[in-house]
Symmetry: C2
Subunit: 394 residues, 2 copies
């Protein structure tokens, strides 16, 4: 296996420490198959069994302190400058490594609002405090939220290439769907076809396979995080998909709308709804650029649909995509309690976001689309090919 | 899908609350595909996206409070008496549910030593404290460690049946291995054969597939958590396996030793080492019963091998097995710093443990075995068929 992505991200972590003037970052974990820290997929690419410490400094040093049984495997990855083993307990090695450069801050992984930066468990924090009790580092613990937000959010070129590949596979499967979805098929049958194609393309599900793809046929199916049902596709109805794949560890997340009938049979309220959603996404894409705040982008799209007389969508306009379909960090969302401070984050070049929203028609259910974009230095670029018309299946 | 196991475990959770006289247990999570709480597989069997609360009372009530998009899927499982939805923020619903029975304690998932009881992240605890700021519950938060230790540890009959099935598949695959492992094969080739058989039996890996099975050929391969290599099997050498599968969500974990040559060619030091390991496991199995402490069982086996002149094994004698290969809770381990208080736990009827240890020979590397046992009211019963002799491949 090749750990180029992890080597690149670990290097980037040290650069971000330097930029933020934070002396060190400590990733502090154990039995990560049970309680994984989301950053491990960036800086380790694998699991550890015993208590382990991964220490990064603003001077560019990367040190692993791990149980003796984990040493060989981690050394072989070539991510860390040094891998220090221990047998009975990690405490002495951890303190001795910290003592070598006596950091003014030790950033650890907790965050009220960024799930991806909240990998530290309460028990592990208690354990850390116990170990650091008689050291100066006990009072130097700070949150690594901003480090992780930047690290996860700023995709490297290699990462963008992976996401782009995931999107290409997703679009290829949607393309194939045009020839197999038919009036009379159930959501479950459509879902199964998608899974066969995922196998063919050697990709896995970008989120829980139970509801990926979400397949919603007709006006009565509630969109959401529930799976496909025995609901059948009917002539003159809409079919909605929310679908994403994972390719080499990176995700896509795209929604599409199919209509069953000729273009001429699309009801006016469906066409208007479709155009509203499509155009709101376009408006948001024209507005977004480095430096704007997450909630500002959401507010623009939200106003756009409300101005056209629709109820506002009950979720955020966009989340980041990367190792995860929901990649954490700055959110293009409203300032609702459940989103905490994440909509107040700053959009940065290199971020990959979804742009997604729905409006509700009177007789045909919801119309919802989702595209993936890359924030560039001057604005953004679509990574998916935006859907411009309902896909008509006759 | 069938949620009988989760329904049974949720019921058991309420009984344990009553037994411990703890008024309520709150499982408090979000985006569990990123930061899963290990208890969710027992009491939910799936993921949630938004902040969610699962509340259990000693009076037997089970309430879910979840984001509106998650409601339908969770209601359909039939685990919870009520599933309360929210849209903008969970705070008000959470407090209003607590106010209905004003619990004297609200147990939450943190533990210094039991990974399986340490699913709460630091950010989520801060969030909870913020939400409960002006309520009496803020000062009523206690650790759910003992609840989870008992809940995970006391396997129901259905759970034991699942573990037994996982063990049967594991033993069937070991049995097949007798006919395909040959002198000259590499560890990687053997590993690949095992994976084909896992597919055939429709089971998945009980731990990270990279090193499952661990395949260690010859005297120089270090046992541990590293994967198979190009190392070849040689005549007169040992081959060691550590292998476990997951069947319907439940795991096995079994080590076996093969020898390449006739029984008559087994070197005396190998035979003596094998018997020491085998007999140490038997001694431990005769000693273990409800009420003994974890470290007492370990100490007995550890003394057994030391008395025979071997160095002591550098790990615990046994861990629990269930939903996970390492299922947390009481550990049959030494009182080493890295094991915290888990070896001080009390062994209970219904616990499933591994019994595993190795000794080191002078010329043939390590000899290591691992069996799975169920603690009964009066002692224990082997769930695996203990290996009694090196498996000779001629």
């Amino acid at each position: 296996m090749d750990y180029q992505l992890e080597i690149e991200k670990s290097q980037q972590a040290c650069e971000i420490l330097d930029e933020l003037d934070i002396a060190s970052w400590l990733v502090w974990v154990r039995e990560t198959s049970q309680t994984p820290d989301p950053v491990l997929e960036l800086i380790l690419g694998g699991d550890v069994v015993w208590q382990s410490a991964f220490l990064f400094t603003k001077d560019g040093e990367k040190i692993g302190i791990v149980g003796n049984f984990d040493v060989d495997a981690i050394e072989a990855k070539g991510i860390y400058d040094r891998v220090v083993p221990y047998t009975e307990g990690i405490r002495d090695q951890l303190i001795s490594e910290l003592d070598k450069f006596r950091p003014r801050q030790v950033a650890i992984n907790f965050s009220k609002d960024n799930v991806a930066a909240d990998g530290l468990t309460v028990g592990m924090l208690l354990k850390l405090k116990e170990y650091l009790k008689d050291t100066p580092y006990l009072t130097r613990l700070v949150s690594a939220e901003e480090i992780i937000t930047r690290l996860r959010g700023r995709k490297t070129e290699k990462e963008v290439t992976c996401i782009r590949s995931a999107i290409e596979v997703t679009e290829a499967i949607y393309d194939r769907a045009k020839s197999f979805v038919k009036v009379g098929m159930t959501e479950i049958e459509v879902y199964q076809h998608f899974h066969e194609l995922m196998k063919e393309h050697k990709v896995t599900s970008a989120w829980n396979a139970d509801h990926n793809p979400a397949v919603d046929a007709g006006p009565d199916k509630q969109f959401g995080h529930s799976g496909p049902t025995g609901n059948k596709i009917k002539k003159g109805h809409l079919l909605h998909f929310d679908f994403g794949v994972r390719w080499q560890g990176y995700c896509s997340d795209i929604q599409r709308m199919f209509f069953f009938g000729p273009k001429s049979a699309i009801p006016e309220e469906v066409q208007t709804a479709f155009e509203t959603v499509r155009d709101a996404i376009q408006e948001a894409s024209l507005y977004i650029s480095p430096g704007v705040l997450g909630y500002e982008v959401d507010a623009l799209a939200r106003k756009f649909v409300k101005d056209r007389g629709y109820e506002e969508y009950q979720h955020a306009l966009g989340h980041q995509v990367g190792r995860r379909a929901h990649d954490g960090g700055t959110l293009l969302g409203p300032l609702w309690e459940r989103y905490g401070t994440s909509p107040k984050g700053v959009v940065e070049a290199g971020n990959v976001f979804t742009l997604e929203l729905y409006v509700t028609t009177s007789n045909y259910g919801q119309v919802s689309l989702e595209e993936d974009i890359l924030v560039t230095r001057s604005g953004c670029r679509f990574l998916s090919n935006p859907q411009s018309e309902p896909i008509c299946i006759e």
